[in-house]
Symmetry: C2
Subunit: 349 residues, 2 copies
């Protein structure tokens, strides 16, 4: 059974000083004679002193104010509705602590909105920020400002190497492409082709879709690369998209599987449903309601999950622990890449 832990009082008594002095040493607030300082530090070490976080939390008037900056969940992309759930879970657990969090969202199709929301973040003068750096340039600008103001920030969903972020919690994007490659390879007859579909207004700007594609391709041997057909669709509207799909599928009649690099695989499934196409496997990302529906019906073969709630939950917790508990988190935490099928999906939603 764990031994009784030392308190400040114990250190004070042992050192023959008052608890105020001990506190000053422990918090490096100076104004203590060097000799007493050393003595206290030694005793604290001997006694394996660690502060009682409960008592600290109870007393502390220090309010921690956090802000999150994440995309507004558009109907188009219900992916981002999961993150607020994770944030709420974290805040509920932290309820007894004096911590507040304001959620700021931006339009994920509008860099300028991200900029103006960045200014809002700065004007709130928070103690810490959780953000998803969807727009690289704009995010770097914000991160630099935060760094200059000594405001720590954590990334979820993606990270920017060149910034001094506290930590990242999320997918290993390249590796998740490889997992997709493995699954697709498993269910595609070796004489069939594989179609990689990227859906994005401007694919070159959407970092994670590109990285997933790279990972995916890397899973296949060089001599198999001729089986892989990559196609970008820049407008997810059904009319446009279905036309594109028809065209590309008629060009590649030997397609055995379609890999959708983002969360819109249900759109491909919609199209197949309408056209009565049943012979092509679909593999995609994220447990959106529509995707899950098609996964259960068998039209989508696999979904890869990246635990959006857990990303947000852990982002908040790490920031709080850092600010309130002096705990420095691991810099990089890659969450598991979940392989989800019709038979285990029930446990992930």
């Amino acid at each position: 059974m764990s031994p009784k832990r030392a308190r400040i009082k114990d250190i004070a008594e042992s050192a023959g000083v008052s608890i105020g002095t001990v506190d000053r040493v422990l918090h490096k607030r100076g104004e203590v004679a060097e000799k007493t300082r050393e003595k206290i530090l030694r005793i604290a070490k001997d006694l394996e002193y660690s502060p009682n976080v409960i008592a600290r939390a109870l007393k502390s008037k220090k309010r921690v104010r956090l802000v999150s900056l994440l995309p507004e969940p558009a109907e188009e992309s219900a992916f981002w509705i999961k993150h607020p759930e994770g944030i709420s879970k974290a805040m509920k657990e932290l309820d007894p602590f004096p911590v507040y969090l304001e959620q700021v969202t931006f339009d994920m199709l509008d860099e300028r909105d991200f900029q103006s929301k960045s200014e809002k973040i700065m004007s709130l003068n928070p103690d810490g920020v959780i953000l998803a750096p969807l727009f690289k340039n704009e995010a770097v600008t914000l991160c630099d400002k935060l760094t200059r103001s000594h405001i720590p920030f954590v990334f979820i969903d993606g990270f920017l190497e060149e910034t001094s972020f506290l930590c990242y919690t999320g997918e290993d994007i390249y590796q998740s492409g490889r997992v997709a490659g493995q699954l697709v390879n498993m269910v595609t007859p070796s004489d069939k082709d594989i179609l990689i579909i990227n859906i994005a207004k401007n694919i070159s700007n959407v970092h994670h879709l590109n990285v997933r594609t790279q990972g995916f391709i890397s899973y296949f041997k060089e001599e198999e690369h001729e089986r892989l057909i990559s196609h970008a669709i820049y407008d997810p509207q059904p009319d446009f998209m279905n036309g594109e799909l028809k065209r590309v599928l008629s060009q590649h009649r030997n397609t055995g599987s379609i890999f959708v690099t983002g969360s819109k695989s249900y759109k491909i499934a919609d199209f197949f449903e309408d056209e009565g196409i049943n012979s092509v496997n679909i593999i995609g990302y994220d447990l959106l309601e529509n995707n899950v529906k098609y996964l259960k019906s068998g039209r989508i073969r696999f979904l890869i999950g990246q635990r959006p709630e857990e990303q947000a939950y852990k982002g908040v917790r790490k920031l709080f622990d850092y600010l309130s508990m002096d705990k420095t988190p691991e810099k990089m935490e890659y969450l598991p890449i979940d392989v989800v099928t019709s038979e285990n999906v029930q446990f992930f939603v």
Copy 2:
């Protein structure tokens, strides 16, 4: 931003009584005039009072003493080395609280040892117990004793319907068999047979292996059942096992995949490695070191994970939250059934 929360003091002032009286009402310690009682209750409700758990934890002298009763991790079955990790993680988080946990282990091949450890548990007179009910009869006896002593207990790894357990955290065993069925079906050519291997001294006594087998079979259509060959091996020693495997494989030369219902799939892989058999898929359970090695090398195709650390972690947390925070947990929590391959295994170990 969250509004300032009401304190006992606020209720007391509003009711025109002292905090002692409020406390007596809130804790149902009686000795309060019915009229004041009602008034206080009403005000508490109006103010949405909820106790500050930090202050409570700081003050409370109430020590919580927990005990876990889990199998001793034998070399044979490293599966059970994961649980202590989850327990440690939970206890580390609970470090500032006055909670203690003693880990008691039993020999998983010896019912009698479970019995004697049960007596030890009772003699420790704990406030709560976490246990894995491997031996049904003996576990029921223990649970009944705990119930009579009003000691709450939580199950992990499996549960016994007939006991009054606080909650279960673990696998949906039947469904995990179905997931295995789906995966095996996916990688087995339709003209090949599927061998189901149960490794256990007395298979009829090992509940979860049977349930997994049932789930597995249920995934296949009636007319496919002739492809499924079930075989039990009652001694995992290599000499015996390899003989058995040789015999059964020579009887069923058309075997395309082997499904191992427990965590010993690496033993099949050992055999295949020695014999140079490469044409048969292996699917098994649990991320033991040996299994993972073969998963990475490709000899094992899939492993199904059941998150042993998380089971233990959550078991401890729920018991603590129940005893110290008055939080009643969900009775049944099925953890996700993880599909693990060579490409995503790195995130699970």
